[in-house]
């Protein structure tokens, strides 16, 4: 087995999650959901560890992680920004909103800004089609977003950054 560079607490977390699901191969997706919720993302080392715990091949774990869009191998930003790309949002201008975010943050979809503050992703449908186009920053939903508002939304979090992180710390 390759050397695992995970912190002891991460190793412990993964072990515990796998154990709650009886270390069963069939519970892989449930395990991945919980581990991602706890660690934020699923890098290669984590997948190796899960494979070992569930007694299955790393290739199979990797196959599942990369198959589903919900699982990510890249850490999300402190403020993950998701643009709804459902059809309802698309026909009401989601693409223009997305390109404005890309321009302002200077990152592509699936990337995180170098300072780790923002990550940009697309999601399929929030289900708030009445508010289209919709974006989410963390859990907060913004409706009827226009490209002109993008700068302001980002600024909201840039300013509030220090106080926000102080609160969670």
């Amino acid at each position: 087995m390759p050397k695992i560079k995970l912190s002891d607490t991460a190793v412990e977390t993964i072990r515990e999650v796998c154990k709650t699901f009886g270390n069963k191969e069939g519970e892989l997706i449930n395990v991945l959901h919980q581990v991602q919720e706890k660690l934020g993302y699923l890098p290669a080392e984590v997948q190796e560890m899960i494979a070992q715990e569930l007694n299955m091949s790393v290739a199979k774990v990797y196959g599942v992680v990369t198959f589903y869009s919900y699982f990510t191998m890249i850490p999300k930003g402190e403020f993950p920004i998701s643009i709804c790309m459902g059809t309802a949002c698309y026909v009401r201008g989601a693409e223009q909103v997305l390109s404005e975010f890309r321009r302002q943050l200077k990152v592509e979809v699936g990337q995180t800004t170098p300072d780790g503050k923002f990550s940009l992703s697309c999601l399929r449908c929030v289900g708030a089609c009445g508010l289209a186009p919709v974006i989410m920053v963390g859990e907060k939903v913004y409706g009827r977003v226009s490209p002109q508002q993008v700068k302001q939304i980002i600024a909201e979090y840039q300013e509030g950054c220090s106080s926000q992180s102080a609160k969670t710390a």
Binding site: N30, F67, Y68, T87, A88, Y90, R124, A128, G130, Q148
Partner: protein
Amino acid sequence: MSEYNMQILICGGTGCKASESEEIRNAFTELLNEYGLEEEVQVVMTGCFGFCEKGPIVKMMPDNTFYVHVTPADTEEIIKEHIVKGRQVERLLYRDPVTKTVIHDSKHMDFYKKQIRIALRNCGFIDPESIDEYIARDGYQALGTCLTERTPEQVIDEIKRSGLRGRGGGGFPTGLKWEITAKVPGDQKYVVCNADEGDPGAFMDRSILEGDPHSVIEAMAINGYCTGATKGLVYIRAEYPLAIARLKIALRQAREYGLLGTDILGSGFDFDIEIRYGAGAFVCGEETALIHSMEGCRGEPTFKPPFPSESGFLGKPTNVNNVETYANIPVIINKGADWFCTIGSEKSKGTKVFALAGKINNVGLIEVPMGTTLREVIYDIGGGIRGGKKFKAVQTGGPSGGLLTTEFLDTPIDYDNLTAAGSMMGSGGMIVMDEDDCMVAIAKFYLGFTVEESCGKCAPCRIGNKRLYEILERITEGKGTMEDIDRLQLLGNVIKDASLCGLGQTSPNPVLSSLKHFRNEYLAHVRDQSCPAGQCKALVKYTVIEDKCTGCTLCFRNCPVGAITGEKREVHFIDQSLCIKCGVCFDKCKFGAILVS
């Protein structure tokens, strides 16, 4: 149950929650205490009312007063006026968009007049987190009837006679599916609820689970009784946190009341339900893929037969139905198949829930009898096209469906008619498009979705759709050739014929149907290098019409990239090398001085 004189119903669907409905609830509760009315007026957070366009919505019962776009600041006025003095707050009432008159209650709103609510019967009426409210509206009565008065065969027969067909899109007769699963021998059988609503722009199943989770639980238990299954599984998208939370509460309550678990209602029948989470893969809506995903694997479809009813979850007989299908079951048992048959068209009985979205005035969730025409849905219920624009097409069936144009406006909506018109019923997404939408770009959008969501198992879908997408990309960039258009047609048909599962077989539909109905738009992109709708950026150029420009600087101030220069009261100029073609200048200009070419 309660001695309340009045109820304040607040929409607690995802859409309204995003616009402060939780705060509105809290404000009402606090104020009622302050006014000493907490014993007389009940505040209920319900599921979706359907009229998402005007959210957050507050409905007053028993008089059905319908307040729209309510904010937490409005709550005090509603209590002071409506509850204390018995006078409606007129400024918050819904106004008819055409006549501009105030409508006093929801029963007189065009949006609701043509709807018949069966699957959504409780959404917007009850607190989804209270099993008592569900029971008060005949909840779990159907399960009781089935377990104590009828044999599984009798129940299956009732469902068969009702003519209910799968609401997930396939349209397979539900009763027949149950019968097949019931007849296959097996020591352990499963019933599965498919709540992996992947169609972007559709939110029917989510709304049912958020607004009336017990109806699905009850129906799954009935299904278990009929097929001989003791275990139920709900496969739900992890992206639906609210629906998951409410489903979990409902499951706990049902167990507490002995409506799930062992020896339900003393009948000797055991049944319980577990939740399984999806992880964001459209293909998992296909039943074999869904089953593989529940087993912890990649959600790749496999060849049918064997059908899940013979060999499904863990190789055992499994009955898979969609959320909306289940939501119909208790009503059919309670009111009978004969009653259900009176609603709908000849071959499609009952109603269908649609998520109406896009360029339409009343975005929302609707339920109409099968056989209602598209015109009724779009103009009577949907209130017509936004901004007085011209209707161009409606896409039903999501990325698997096709476009329906003006010629189909009077087609009655049912499974067979939509298929004959080159689209499909699908799960119920209905996206309305207007004259500003470029059909080539829409086809490209849907195909981009399919390319990303293709599981990659079979070549026609994995490679073919990618090639289709590249051709569309070329066309929207003005680099397409006439041969490309023929290639789209040929390749599209090959993918349709040669793909393994429903996703691949239907993926070229948006391309093929837009080619059929809007061939001229494709030709314009290729031959004239122009996008008639002005959507394809590579083909669009924004310039200032010198005679019309007044130098008001509005475009200059709004341009996000500083591509516009010009002094006050002088003609402005757009630097083409900086312009990102966002169209803001065109939208903002009050003098029509921006030319899109």
